[in-house]
């Protein structure tokens, strides 16, 4: 009978309570291994689901070890692990049991751990004791976690604003400068730049973000009917900057351009002409002092293909769905020495007013958004860069 079953279940629950079941360290490791095996198209999901249910029974002492597993977890597996941490922490805190604060803080302090895992640890610590943020954030201005860094910058901007509002502008200025140096999110950058401008200090925004300003351009090539996206025009396999190629209407040659836009925008409709059904290639040379993984972050309302050292990094055929800073994040690798970045920027033939933009911006940075500059980039000029 259902009521008897229910009563037995209630009794069982009261016996076992909401407490964890003391999952052994070996079981935690085994379940994590299963979860980290998940892959594309639900590969390993069924096994991971079973492993997750076991892992979520682990006690609070296991939390730092589970967080460490994020260090080499894929983005998919990371979410399974995150959810287990959250579930364990919720259960323990709801039952008024302690979290391993000391070990979580040790994990947080070790900046080589996964930035998102460290942010999760930070949130657990501040959930237990809200004062933790005030204690830790001052030393976390350059944290690898973009969210922790954002909180630290916000705290600094608040401090600077209070000084500014109290007319202590000499004191406010270096605090704004410190906040700007650490800021990676554009809203915080703009907040700092606005005040620094009012205080008479120029900021080199392209340098701050790592926008490439120095480009070689060649085009237009034919993109009538959007047919040129997959056509291999000569610049895709001929890197001779002195060459002349057959363009859409006439022969075309490489030309140099240098954008002074604060956000590194190269407006092809102005630099060249507002061609329709056209393609232009933009090429830049980037000198790196070492081989390294980087983000190529692109913004464009046009279809595009990106090559790094002749290898196609990514391509996307989408026209006029907006343009934004860091619209596309393409993970890639620079080699030591000269690297060639080649971008194909395709314009279609839409006639609407909002479909006339033919432009791009591209920056090179690390995963936190910190600019990585070509070693041959000129030293910053002093200039007022307060307006876009």
């Amino acid at each position: 009978m259902w009521w008897r079953t229910a009563w037995m279940a209630v009794v069982a629950c009261s016996m076992f309570g909401q407490s964890s079941e003391g999952v052994s360290a070996a079981d935690v490791a085994s379940n994590l291994k299963t979860i980290k095996s998940v892959g594309a198209e639900a590969k390993g999901n069924a096994a991971a689901s079973r492993a997750w249910a076991e892992l979520a029974k682990a006690d609070a002492k296991s939390l730092p070890d589970i967080l460490v597993a994020l260090d080499d977890a894929s983005p998919l597996a990371a979410n399974w692990i995150r959810s287990a941490v959250e579930t364990i922490a919720d259960r323990e805190l709801n039952a008024k049991r302690p979290l391993p604060i000391v070990d979580l803080e040790k994990y947080l302090a070790e900046t080589s751990h996964d930035p998102r895992g460290r942010r999760l640890a930070f949130e657990l610590l501040t959930r237990v004791d809200p004062k933790t943020a005030d204690r830790l954030l001052p030393g976390m201005l350059n944290d690898p976690s973009v969210e922790i860094r954002r909180d630290a910058v916000a705290r600094l901007l608040k401090q600077a604003n209070e000084l500014f509002d109290a007319d202590k502008t000499d004191d406010a200025k270096p605090v704004y400068q410190q906040a700007l140096t650490a800021a990676r999110d554009d809203d915080q950058v703009q907040a700092a730049v606005k005040r620094l401008s009012e205080l008479g200090q120029a900021v080199d925004l392209p340098r701050h973000f790592g926008f490439i300003q120095d480009w070689s351009l060649i085009g237009p090539f034919d993109n009538t009917g959007k047919a040129g996206f997959n056509v291999v025009f000569p610049p895709e396999n001929n890197d001779d900057l002195t060459a002349e190629f057959k363009g859409k209407d006439q022969k075309v040659r490489w030309t140099k351009t240098f954008t002074t836009d604060n956000y590194g925008i190269v407006d092809l409709a102005k630099v060249q002409a507002p061609h329709k059904g056209a393609i232009t290639y933009a090429r830049a040379e980037f000198m790196s002092d070492k081989a390294r993984d980087v983000d190529f972050r692109l913004g464009t309302p046009n279809s595009w293909k990106l090559w790094v050292n002749s290898e196609l990094a990514f391509s996307r055929e989408e026209y006029h769905r907006g343009m934004a800073l860091d619209q596309y994040r393409v993970r890639g690798r620079l080699k030591a020495g000269k690297n060639v970045i080649l971008l194909k920027v395709c314009q279609n033939e839409q006639t609407e007013e909002w479909a006339q933009r033919w432009q791009f911006q591209l920056r090179v940075c690390d995963a936190t958004g910190t600019a990585i500059l070509s070693t041959t980039r000129p030293v910053a000029e002093k200039k007022d860069v307060t307006s876009r």
Binding site: A6, P75, A78, R82
Partner: protein, 402 residues
């Protein structure tokens, strides 16, 4: 033994939680936007008929869903909108039952009015399926325990839209239907609700599309079909196999979804086109088509044999659902409507972008019977369950009930 007991208890809980008063997906269980047995208040104020109001940790255009005594809502937060939230509140008092968060694995850029948490989640009564503009699909049980996670943009790197995704998933049998139609890689998938594995994956027309799939009930569950809309028309597929059953050529709108009531499908195409799905090898039959009934962003509502469609300029048009003949038009406050209207108790509830709720009496003439200023932007489609209306903004979730 312990596992068995807990499983049995869980089954009991699940059995009791599956009620007729649920609102389990975008526009309710049957996708009509109508709660047949409910009668939420038509008048409320800051101090009257608001049962509770709770804070939300992030933005969202997604509508709430109701499963038994649970109200589930999604949100997204962070500078890049890349923190995905699923929250579950007690319907009775608004107490937070649980809150789970995830990291986006796909692109989160969207039009400023949209955000990562734009699609409404869905439930089969046992599981919750949260879907985001990032194309992440998260499956949780009713207690918030993760069942599986999919990153469709992770798996298919060009499945994304720089303006954001809005299509809400639906459950058809034991398959979750997700439509992710874009200018670049454009797909629809049927996922096994138990594991998230693809049952099928269809290439869809290459053009951004923000409509949600719908289920058209057959004479038996095996005869149900799912309708997918595109700029090329309506495609009916078998939920479990993705096999195309029939097609209807039409230039469908890219934003409003189709609505089906009593076996008739109302397709936002050429204004609005009412079609009767084919039986056997016939073609779909056009019952009527009207350019005067023209849903722009909100989907059409079919209620008490009338069609309600919000067009440009905030004009709501009411037409006879049998003939398409226009009955009346009424200029609502303001011009920008994103929320699809919902209906219950003889009334139609509409929400303006600025947070103005307006309640119209359903009938052959326009009659505004109530309004309320939430004073916060509301772009979600509300839920109705158990004589209560649930509505959310970027910052709050309200239960409107006596």
């Amino acid at each position: 033994m312990q596992r068995t007991i807990i499983t049995l208890l869980a089954l009991l809980v699940l059995t009791t939680s599956v009620t007729a008063a649920d609102w389990r997906q975008f526009r309710g269980n049957d996708g009509s936007g109508v709660a047949v047995d409910a009668a939420p208040p038509t008048l409320w104020s800051d101090t009257q008929n608001i049962a509770w109001k709770v804070d939300l940790p992030g933005r969202g255009l997604s509508g709430p869903i109701v499963i038994g005594d649970r109200v589930v809502v999604t949100a997204s937060s962070g500078f890049a909108q890349d923190r995905e939230h699923v929250l579950c509140f007690a319907a009775k008092d608004g107490r937070l039952r649980w809150h789970r968060q995830f990291w986006s694995t796909g692109r989160t850029m969207s039009h400023p009015k949209m955000c990562n948490a734009t699609p409404t989640p869905a439930s089969d009564g046992e599981r919750i399926f949260a879907f985001y503009s990032s194309n992440d699909v998260i499956c949780l049980d009713l207690d918030g325990d993760l069942q599986w996670f999919r990153g469709l943009n992770h798996d298919y790197p060009n499945v994304s839209n720089s303006l954001g995704m809005a299509s809400s998933p639906i459950v058809a049998g034991d398959t979750l239907i997700v439509q992710a139609q874009n200018d670049s890689d454009s797909i629809a998938v049927g996922l096994d609700v138990a594991t998230g594995a693809n049952r099928w994956k269809l290439d869809r027309p290459i053009l951004a599309n923000w409509t949600s799939p719908i289920v058209v009930k057959g004479k038996t569950p095996d005869a149900d079909v799912v309708l997918l809309l595109s700029s090329q028309g309506v495609t009916a597929v078998e939920p479990r196999s993705g096999r195309k059953v029939w097609e209807f050529a039409a230039e469908c709108g890219q934003i409003p979804s189709a609505t089906t009531v009593n076996g008739i499908v109302y397709v936002p195409a050429g204004g609005l086109t009412a079609i009767e799905p084919p039986s056997g090898s016939d073609s779909a039959k056009v019952l009527w088509q009207s350019g005067r009934v023209r849903p722009i962003t909100p989907s059409p509502l079919i209620y008490e044999e009338r069609v309600y469609a919000i067009g440009s300029g905030g004009v709501i048009t009411c037409a006879d659902a049998r003939s398409g003949e226009q009955l009346w038009q009424f200029r609502l406050k303001g011009g920008l409507y994103y929320a699809t209207p919902v209906a219950a108790g003889g009334h139609v509830y509409v929400f303006h972008e600025d947070g103005t709720a307006q309640v119209l009496k359903s009938g052959d003439r326009a009659e505004l019977v109530g309004s309320h200023e939430f004073k916060e932007p509301i772009l979600c489609t509300p839920a109705i369950a158990g004589n209560a209306l649930y509505v959310r903004s970027d910052g709050h979730l309200w239960k409107i009930a006596q």
